[in-house]
């Protein structure tokens, strides 16, 4: 008897039901399941009695690549049901897919992602054929809410259409070939057994039909498997388990998983969304699931004090019913309910298409109704492993490392970061801190990247819940460094656009020694930089990163590719933001410091940057000439251009002379100081080196001399701020040259010294502080 192939969609309740029903009906001798074959000796671990969702977590590392893969299982996973039901009828259940470390899974974080999502053409063909916008909506209508009769035939037709003529990629072909080898081998065994009569149940109620082989795999692979399995076997016997290359480390473990993680896969990695809805559908059927979804959205919205009137609910129900009828669903499906609620409850224009219409994660700033709807679909369930489950490797790794650094006891630990051991200890402890594992906490140590402190002190704290936290964190990686890198990448993805968060994230990355770790971290960090809105904050990050990249010997972060990527991303973003800044505002020192950091990066690390010095000089010229740019930025751009072109002007075009630029800026005495401040922040040396009649000093002197008293008073505060960029010695030099220029004699230092009575100054200062305090108390001070 040939094998019975059952093509399923991973995480589909309808498919899970079909698998359970088929196993009970056929009572097969063998159930072959798409799952990592290296787990076959340990299937008992899966049957211990866990609370789902859980995942088989696999890790791999060799000299070239590291990879982590999850195979999430929930109550309604067809693979899980095949395993459970197969064992309960006494069948031999086998995982027949390649191990997760195999190159076929390269770049795949989710083993049970929808294979067809990797083939855009296949999904486009499906949607076009059925006239729907998304595969998920189509699937729900065809299978999840449709009557169960004829389900197997419909699935076959569906997956034949999905696979079509499309050629699978190399990874999928390797997997299909391996799975087909298993099918052929097991079929041969089953036939042999059937021939001898062994294992065939004598009564239909007990025992199994040993000759029957049930194959449960992703439906995308089924058509190919059928064809491959029909060919003669190249070699007899069960296929050998591929062996990882020598020197590579790999393993697979069970870890607790959550609906949130299951729902968070995006793009190619995503499977079926909305686990909470499908859990309900699996337990109570589609009608109850739809009702529950509606209720849970409304409850959530009302808890958030978002008005939901009865009239709205009536309208939503009418819409849902109408949509279900129009789409030919006997019972409202997930998208019918969601579309109905969105249509009736959203009373504004949206900034992003509804997330269930296009498999996209929720963008920041989404409509609150949409946010609650997505949250209600996703659910918050987390799985728990049975206590007898072997602990994930992270638990052992953490214990071994803690013992190695002598942190097992409760003595306080001091790490000298300049020594190898101290640094290792510090990294280990920081990684644990990042993973949220209770235990030691730091009481002293460097607070930021430029902090000259080189020792850290770690006190012991309560350790309750440490193992639980480590088991939970086991889903992030097999070793502390891997897990920390995964968490950092996740944080980079979700970090908000505030300065401290981004800088802190970067510093944590350095502290954990994760600067040369993963591409994932690199990619997310670059994306975060690329949408950061505040040049000042970016400047702080840029300055710190540049310092670490150039000089850091303590953490070993010098010349690290991660910092290099940060530098490039931050420079591009700062330049983008400053060219877009318009309007009148006072001098913003953070923004000027950011431009100074850009200048330093161009000077010290030009090879890392995509943007060239010539491009930047041209950009600076544009800003310097832009009448709508803020005065401080115009001055800073001028300074930036001066410093960049100091070694020979790449573009000897019409150069606005400093003096004439200053005169133009002085057209408005209110902005002269800001303009000078920007200029001095970027090109202090160039300005002081510039002497003679056409110099800036001469021009400013002339301009100031022409100001009326009233204008001078307006200009004064910003002017003082501008000259504060010079250290006292340089200020003295300027004063001396001023005296020379005016043809006077006298002490330059005397000119800088105030002539007012110090008592008056103190009194004025006290008064000013008083006023400030008073304004603050009444909330009247404007933020600058």
């Amino acid at each position: 008897m040939p094998a019975v192939f059952l093509g399923v969609r991973h995480h589909s309740p309808a498919c899970a039901r079909l698998v359970a029903e088929t196993v009970r009906r056929l009572r097969p001798g063998y159930v072959l399941v798409e799952g990592p074959a290296d787990l076959n000796g340990r299937l008992d671990e899966l049957a211990l009695g866990h609370e789902l969702p859980i995942a088989v977590f696999s890790h791999y590392r060799d000299a070239e690549r590291t990879a982590t893969t999850w195979a999430p299982l929930c109550d309604y996973s067809p693979e899980w049901v095949a395993l459970r039901e197969g064992r309960s009828v006494g069948a031999e259940v086998l995982f027949v897919d390649l191990p997760s470390w195999h190159p076929a899974f390269e770049l795949r974080a989710n083993r049970y992602a929808d294979a067809e999502a990797r083939y855009a053409e296949a999904t486009a063909r499906l949607c076009e054929r059925f006239g729907t916008g998304s595969v998920d909506a189509l699937w729900d209508g065809l299978f999840e809410v449709a009557p169960a009769d004829g389900l197997a035939e419909r699935l076959d037709a569906y997956f034949d259409l999905v696979r079509g003529e499309s050629e699978a990629d190399e990874g999928d072909r390797a997997r299909e070939a391996y799975m087909a080898d298993w099918v052929r081998a097991v079929l041969a065994e089953a036939e042999a057994e059937a021939g001898t009569g062994a294992g065939v149940g004598t009564d239909a109620g007990a025992g199994t039909d040993a000759a029957t082989v049930l194959v449960v795999t992703g439906g995308f692979h089924t058509p190919a498997l059928r064809a491959l399995a029909a060919r003669p076997a190249p070699t007899p016997g069960r296929p050998a388990l591929p062996v990882p290359p020598p020197g590579a480390v790999s393993g697979s473990y069970l870890v607790p998983y959550s609906f949130r993680q299951l729902d968070a896969f995006a793009g190619y990695q995503s499977g079926m969304p909305s686990p909470a809805y499908y859990q309900r559908l699996w337990e109570d059927g589609p009608e109850a699931a739809a009702d529950h979804l509606r209720q849970s959205v409304v409850t959530r919205l009302r808890a958030r004090r978002h008005p939901v009137s009865t009239a709205d609910l009536v309208a939503a129900a009418a819409l849902t019913g109408g949509l279900a009828a129009l789409r030919g669903h006997p019972v409202p499906a997930r998208t019918d309910v969601l579309d109905g609620l969105a249509g009736a409850l959203v009373k504004d224009d949206l900034t992003q298409p509804l997330p269930w219409s296009e498999r996209a994660p929720l963008a920041p700033g989404s409509h609150p109704v949409v946010v609650e709807m997505v949250a209600a679909c996703g659910g918050a369930r987390t799985g728990r492993l049975h206590p007898d489950t072997p602990a994930p490797p992270l638990v052992h790794d953490a214990a071994a490392r803690l013992a190695a650094i002598g942190a097992a006891g409760s003595r306080p630990l001091t790490c000298d970061l300049t020594t190898e051991e101290g640094l290792t200890a510090s990294r280990t402890l920081h990684r644990l801190r990042l993973l949220g594992v209770p235990g030691r906490h730091r009481t002293a140590g460097p607070a930021h990247g430029a902090d000259p402190v080189t020792t850290e002190r770690w006190e012991a704290g309560p350790e309750a819940g440490r193992d639980a936290a480590l088991i939970e964190a086991g889903a992030y990686g097999a070793t502390l460094d891997e897990a920390a890198a995964t968490v950092l990448a996740e944080r980079a993805r979700t970090t908000g656009p505030t300065d401290t968060e981004l800088a802190a994230l970067l510093f944590d990355t350095v502290l954990c020694g994760a600067t040369d770790l993963t591409d994932r971290l690199l990619g997310t960090l670059a994306a975060t930089l690329a949408r950061h809105p505040d040049p000042g904050a970016l400047g702080a990050v840029l300055a710190t990163a540049l310092g670490l990249w150039r000089h850091d010997r303590v953490y070993g972060a010098a010349r690290s590719p991660l910092l290099a990527a940060v530098l490039d991303g931050a420079v591009a973003r700062v330049l983008w933001l400053v060219e877009g800044a318009h309007g009148r505002s006072g001098a913003d020192p953070a923004r000027l410091a950011a431009l100074a950091a850009v200048r330093d990066t161009l000077r010290h690390a030009p090879d890392l940057l995509t943007v060239t010095t010539a491009d930047t000089a041209a950009l600076a010229l544009r800003i310097a000439r832009d009448p709508h740019a803020p005065a401080d930025l115009r001055g800073a751009a001028h300074g930036l251009r001066l410093t960049l072109t100091a070694g020979g002007d790449p573009d000897p075009g019409p150069e606005p002379g400093l003096a004439s630029a200053a005169r133009r800026a002085a057209g408005d005495p209110g902005t002269l100081g800001d303009w000078l401040g920007g200029l001095f922040a970027l090109a202090r040396e160039e300005v002081t080196a510039d002497t003679g009649d056409g110099s800036l000093l001469a021009a400013v002197d002339a301009v100031l001399a022409e100001l009326t008293d009233a204008e001078f008073l307006i200009a004064l505060p910003a002017l003082r701020q501008a000259f504060a960029w010079f250290p006292p010695r340089e200020r003295e030099r300027i004063a001396r040259r001023l005296i020379e220029r005016r043809g006077l004699r006298g002490s330059a230092r005397g000119l800088l010294r105030t002539t007012a009575d110090p008592v008056h100054l103190a009194a004025a200062r006290a008064l000013e502080e008083n006023v400030t305090a008073l304004l603050d108390r009444h909330g009247l001070r404007t933020a600058r």
Partner: protein, 360 residues
């Protein structure tokens, strides 16, 4: 060969342009029709999103679920409000829906600052009014009244451009589904809406804030946001097809360069997406991209006899992507200088090299 009057029109309404398709769909329609509708929901949906097997062309490139929601809303007792950026084919969608559902898209109120209540409900033929007094004969029904009396869909374009008090004249009409004409006596003084009547309004997100909508009116509408075409491939194909069509009509035989069109469409999409409120004030719709592609083709063909190159593209961009706004021009320049420089590929390179051609 004879040409009918309709063929000489620049742009005949949807029910005329697609008369054959509509007739065929009506003839084959076996599904239930909502009372007062000319087509069933499914047939109307097929008319709009297309059905290749049945030879029905796709007329609206967008999420089919949106069309479904829109149609179902119109079958309930709430109005439909299509909101979105300019140039997202809102009006086209409302025209198609009205043509499919009611067989006519001509019951249209064009909203604007000067729209008054009598352009929505009814006004009088004053000569008759003076000579005969108020009578059904002297009454001049406006689109809403006609839609109610005939049981058809009424389109209200750019509703938020109307003053609030004019918008609010729709309130009783949408909830009570009746218009009182106090001047007329007897049963003619009340016009009740027949089955099939409903309102499709469109509003432009750029105009919101000019005249916001009252909460009471919002409550009577279901909102549907129409988005620009979500994926690059579809938008590119549409721009290529439409601009090719325009170029052929302009006597240009060279087909537009696909790589260059990709640069154009990508530029439009990225500028349109903006970030943190920094979006151009000019409308960067697909329709605008088509007109730029048209201009590029014309320049290339009539100036040099070829399909148009990166320099033509940059030169044509200023007029559409920046219009008369210096801020938009600066945005465009910043994009060409900084973003384009980070792109790979010969066409991006060429556009970057031609950036100095940006006028202004």
């Amino acid at each position: 060969m004879t040409t009918t009057a309709e063929e000489q029109l620049q742009r005949p309404p949807a029910e005329v342009r697609y008369a054959e398709e509509l007739a065929a769909l009506r003839a084959e329609d076996r599904d239930h029709r909502p009372p007062g509708w000319e087509l069933s929901l499914r047939a109307a949906r097929r008319f709009i999103v297309g059905d290749e097997a049945a030879g029905v062309a796709r007329k609206f490139v967008g999420d089919p679920a949106l069309v479904e929601r829109a149609l179902v809303t119109l079958a309930t007792n709430r109005g439909l409000l299509l909101v979105g950026e300019p140039g997202t084919a809102k009006s086209l969608l409302s025209e198609l829906i009205a043509a499919a559902v009611s067989g006519t898209s001509r019951l249209t109120v064009q909203g604007g600052a000067a729209t008054t209540e009598d352009q929505i409900k009814y006004s009088w033929n004053y000569a008759l009014l003076v000579s005969e007094g108020p009578s059904p004969r002297s009454l001049v029904p406006a689109p809403m009244l006609r839609g109610m009396a005939e049981g058809r869909l009424v389109r209200f374009e750019e509703i938020t451009r109307c003053p609030l008090e004019v918008q609010d004249s729709l309130l009783s009409l949408l909830s009570e589904r009746v218009v009182a004409i106090p001047e007329l006596e007897g049963p003619e003084g009340m016009v009740f809406a027949k089955q099939g009547f409903n309102v499709i309004a469109t509003a432009n997100t750029r105009d919101r804030g000019v005249n916001e909508m009252s909460a009471a009116l919002k409550r009577r509408f279901n909102f549907e946001t129409v988005f620009p075409i979500p994926d690059l491939g579809t938008e590119l194909a549409l721009v290529e097809a439409e601009s090719g069509h325009l170029l052929r009509r302009s006597g240009v035989t060279a087909a537009p360069d696909r790589d260059l069109l990709e640069v154009l469409v990508t530029t439009f999409r990225e500028l349109r997406a903006g970030e943190g409120g920094d979006r151009p004030s000019a409308v960067l719709s697909t329709a605008e991209a088509v007109s730029v592609a048209h201009a590029v083709g014309l320049r290339g063909w009539y100036l040099r006899g070829e399909a148009g190159n990166a320099a033509d593209l940059v030169a044509s961009l200023a007029g559409t992507a920046a219009k008369d706004s210096p801020e938009d021009l600066a945005r465009l320049r910043r994009y060409l200088e900084q973003r384009v420089a980070r792109r790979r590929g010969p066409h991006w390179r060429a556009v970057h090299d031609a950036r100095h051609l940006l006028a202004g």
